[in-house]
């Protein structure tokens, strides 16, 4: 949380996107997180993804809960409305905001404490309702703001900086999201921008509940030997199943990877996900297989990353509720107030 605003000046030759915005126009206040924090890398990837997707910055609504990760929406998209809600309850606030205006893009940013402990219920229910959003958990396995307690995603047997061993089973947010019916599920690593930026772009373009579990080492409290969420541990155990390229309908379509290794998926908004498969057997269109694959690799101590599941034709909560195309917050008296004639009819039926 900061009140330091970045200067508006920037180099005149900074590249602009088709809307005339530079990358700087997608930035926010100066981060007050610890130097080297994985969360700042994720913020940078969000900025890059929004710039590349050419989103009008003010048409994104960014919501978060409480914790280090939940502070980050202040550090990107400074012209967007942001909402730092209450601990573990961002999903419900985002759901309400989404119902009010279906035309904005909703980005929920949370942490493992915020989403896997206090907010596990709301996380599950927002996912199962199919709220059209990208939900990113910046997962460091630790409570940073309160100085190093285990979170619910800490693996059993991992050691805290003080040497305490975690005896509780860790919650795998990716498996949970798959079980709850998320229609876009990915996992990445804050240190792997090449993988993360396209995943965020694809998640933002996805219609329905999109979820990215982003492992993000805490440099202060969870980056030591014995931690399963440290930079070294994740790099050593990362098992990437695919590499993603997102092609928007307005771009000339190009395929970055060799034929035979690439699967193309067209999403609802026309974006094309070009998936370069690394693991031969991995099929991102099968929920059950995705769950099985994750489990199998987890028993070998591997952390699977990449786009793990996508249903490109998914619907969202507005489809389920059957709301009008006009955002509800733009309806006026004529659409909302039935008037005295209707009331006379109602009165007559109550006599």
């Amino acid at each position: 949380m900061t009140y330091i605003l970045k200067p508006q000046l920037h180099h005149p030759k900074l590249p602009t996107n088709s809307l005339g915005y530079t990358r700087r126009d997608y930035e926010g206040s100066v981060s007050t997180l610890c130097a080297g924090c994985g969360h700042d890398s994720i913020s940078a990837s969000i900025i890059q993804a929004c710039f590349e997707l050419e989103l009008p910055p003010h048409r994104v609504a960014k919501l978060s809960g409480i914790g280090c990760s939940s502070k980050t929406p202040d550090y990107f998209l400074g012209n967007s409305h942001g909402f730092n809600t209450v601990h573990g309850r961002m999903p419900s606030v985002l759901t309400g905001a989404n119902l009010a205006n279906r035309d904005l893009i909703y980005l929920g940013v949370s942490g493992d404490g915020d989403s896997a402990s206090i907010g596990l219920g709301q996380f599950a229910h927002a996912i199962r309702r199919g709220v059209n959003m990208l939900y990113i958990v910046e997962n460091n396995g630790v409570y940073g703001l309160t100085k190093g307690q285990f979170s619910a995603t800490s693996d059993r047997g991992s050691k805290s900086k003080k040497g305490v061993v975690n005896t509780d089973a860790g919650i795998d947010m990716v498996s949970l999201a798959l079980q709850m019916g998320a229609t876009f599920v990915g996992r990445s690593f804050s240190g792997d921008k090449d993988q993360l930026v396209p995943l965020i772009k694809a998640g933002l373009a996805h219609k329905g509940a999109a979820f990215i579990d982003c492992i993000s080492p805490c440099v202060q409290f969870n980056n030591h030997v014995g931690s399963t969420k440290s930079f070294d541990y994740v790099r050593e155990h990362n098992e990437a199943v695919n590499r993603l390229d997102v092609v928007m309908p307005r771009d000339p379509i190009h395929v970055a990877y060799k034929p035979g290794e690439t699967v193309q998926v067209q999403q609802h908004d026309g974006s094309i996900l070009s998936l370069h498969k690394l693991a031969e057997l991995y099929n991102p269109s099968n929920r059950a297989q995705a769950l099985g694959y994750l489990q199998a690799r987890a028993t070998r101590g591997q952390i699977v990353t990449g786009l793990l599941f996508v249903d490109p034709n998914a619907g969202d909560l507005h489809d389920a509720v059957g709301t009008v195309d006009t955002p509800l917050n733009q309806l006026g008296e004529a659409e909302l107030v039935p008037g005295s004639a209707a009331l006379d009819r109602i009165n007559a039926a109550l006599r």
């Binding site: 900061t2 507005h318 107030v337």
Partner: protein, 607 residues
């Protein structure tokens, strides 16, 4: 002692087993009396259960229009063997007992000071019907027919209701007519009409008969609410369900059939209020309906709504607390919890409707106030108003009325260079301007947070900045004082130094109690409180009297506590009349308590 003769002024109570289908038959009984132009006040007394437990339905037939609960029973319709003894005991001396005489009861189970009327309902049903369900359902209609004959209710009035309720299903209409006639002719043949009689009158007028929850839901429709998030909890559930039904009727885009509303049954009360806060932040009118336990769960979000200044509406249909308390009984015991919900220094406006008509009005008004004041507005119903049908003035709407969206800065104003500070005092009323998300590409964006911030919404823990903001919130609360519904005065016929304050569902019992006291020569000026923060008239009223009774349906005198806290009023000046056993307060109780205190006061003065 001879039987009491009474016309259009008596109480009939039905003792049933819940799940037996008695509710619709009993309702039909009450409505048929109204169709004869005689007002009724009917109340369900029911358990937190679906089938098999005792349930009662009390109908006060009152040409004088006393819609409060009277207390006492003149005719008990004892259909539940489980509760026989207490039901028989409840009958006023000289009253009547109606029962199913199929199996003879030992004389010891009756009372000598009441008149017993037996109709062999079960035997009649068994003879006429084959299916057990038919026997059970038509038994209810048979006793309605028998009661109509005993009490002088025109069979045509009941038939009219049957025809309306089952319109288009002729077989059902015929079967019900038959059952009705069966009960009616049995009485005409074997018994005589009772001295308790319903006579056609013209005392109902154009009033409607409706539940408060239904009325509040309709108010939400007219108030422009589009997002409703809720979690089932007695006694508020029927509010959200009525909103759903009204929206399906009144809030659908004709061309596409799509919904101009979004209703979410959330996973709990916390998510419900979270959805409401999110929708309110994003420029929708949103509400939740709940009861005391739900308010407890929602308090963190209510504090956020207060401090981050986000509109929200909560309909709190109060029930007996604390904890799970008495989930199907009525109380006014959430006043303090609602007024100060949240940690830290918080205060929230409360609207206090007294009947379904006001539930509609305040239900609509709440959304204008939430947008105008950018905060949570509570509409405080209770189970008695919410879940019972009341005779009330017809709903009215002025078609020229506009929804007041409050202070919202537009893209044009931002473009023209308006200085936007989300938490900046502009007009001296404590209310800042807000923008809806997505309004302008480079102006008007801000970060909403529950942490302290400066007028331009930037994080700040500086003491002076924090205090300025908290003081502005107090000014805003003072603005609310003039916007919430004003109190309604009822002057005594003679000049008096005694007053009484009351609110909500106490209203009809209070009006009747004032009449009773007046006939005893006890005069009190009365003021019905309808909103919090308290209007100046309330403090003026207290100042103008030596003693002001405060009548409430809770144990701890919560309105009095608010008056003392907010107005610095001496507790000794505000004697409490408290009723909190879970049944609606009665005129007899209020009048008795006040008469006793006034008599004591006279004795003390004489000493």
């Amino acid at each position: 002692m001879g039987p009491k003769a009474r016309v259009n002024d008596f109480v009939v109570k039905f003792a049933n087993v819940n799940g037996s289908g008695s509710a619709s038959a009993n309702g039909m009984f009450a409505r048929s009396v109204m169709r004869m132009g005689v007002p009724v006040a009917a109340r369900n007394i029911f358990p937190s259960n679906i089938q098999g437990l005792p349930t009662w339905y009390e109908v006060r037939i009152t040409e004088a229009g006393h819609l409060g609960r009277r207390g006492g029973v003149d005719l008990m319709v004892a259909m539940n063997p489980q509760t026989w003894d207490r039901d028989v005991a409840e009958i006023e001396s000289g009253g009547y007992l109606f029962y199913d005489s199929t199996k003879p009861m030992p004389p010891g189970r009756f009372r000598e000071d009441i008149t017993v009327v037996g109709v062999p309902l079960t035997a009649m049903c068994n003879e006429a019907y084959e299916l057990p369900r038919e026997r059970q359902l038509f038994k209810n209609i048979i006793y309605v027919g028998a009661l109509a004959a005993l009490l002088g209710i025109e069979p045509e009035a009941v038939q009219g209701l049957i025809s309306e309720d089952f319109a288009g299903r002729q077989k059902l209409i015929d079967a019900n007519f038959e059952a009705l006639a069966m009960g009616h002719s049995y009485v005409m043949k074997h018994l005589a009409p009772l001295p308790l009689q319903v006579r056609r009158a013209d005392a109902v007028g154009d009033r409607i008969y409706v539940e408060g929850n239904q009325a509040a839901a309709l108010g939400a429709v007219y108030g422009g609410a589009t997002v409703c998030a809720w979690y089932p909890i007695t006694p508020s559930t029927s509010l959200a369900e009525a909103f759903t039904a009204y929206c399906q009727d009144l809030r659908v885009e004709p061309e596409s059939g799509k919904a101009r509303h979004a209703i979410i049954q959330a996973e709990d009360e916390i998510a419900s209020i979270g959805i409401v806060v999110g929708a309110g932040w994003n420029g929708c009118r949103a509400f939740t309906a709940t009861s005391g336990p739900g308010v407890s769960l929602m308090t963190e979000f209510i504090g956020l709504s207060y401090f981050a200044e986000i509109p929200a509406v909560i309909f709190d249909v109060q029930r007996g607390g604390p904890s799970t308390g008495m989930p199907t009984r009525t109380q006014q015991a959430d006043l303090l919890a609602a007024a100060y919900a949240g940690h830290g220094d918080t205060k929230h406006p409360l609207l206090l409707p007294a009947d379904p008509g006001e539930c509609f009005e305040m239900g609509a008004l709440a959304f204008d106030l939430a947008d105008r004041l950018q905060t949570t507005i509570f509409v405080m119903l209770d189970l008695d108003i919410g879940m019972n049908e009341w005779l009330t003035q017809p709903f009215q709407w002025d078609d020229s009325r506009k929804l007041d969206r409050g202070k919202v800065m537009t893209a044009e104003e931002l473009e023209a260079g308006a200085d936007f500070g989300r938490y900046k005092e502009v007009d001296g009323d404590g209310i800042p301007y807000r923008t809806y998300p997505g309004t302008h590409p480079t102006k008007g964006g801000y970060f909403t947070r529950g942490t302290s911030r400066n007028p331009y919404a930037r994080y700040s823990e500086e003491g002076a900045v924090y205090v300025d903001n908290m003081e502005r919130l107090l000014r805003k609360f003072d603005t609310a004082r003039k916007l919430v519904p004003a109190p309604i005065a009822r002057a005594a016929k003679r000049k008096t130094r005694d007053g009484v304050l009351y609110y909500g569902s106490t209203n009809p019992a209070m009006n009747e109690a004032l009449e009773m006291l007046e006939t005893q020569g006890r005069h009190l000026d009365a003021l019905r409180v309808r909103g919090f923060p308290f209007a100046q008239e309330i403090y003026d009223f207290i100042a103008a009297h030596d003693r002001v009774f405060v009548v409430e349906q809770n144990r701890d005198a919560q309105l009095k506590t608010l008056l003392m806290t907010e107005g610095g009023i001496d507790a000794a000046k505000l004697p409490s009349v408290l009723h909190y056993d879970g049944t609606p307060i009665t005129a007899r109780y209020i009048a008795g308590e006040i008469a006793q205190r006034m008599a004591l006061g006279q004795i003390e003065a004489a000493e």
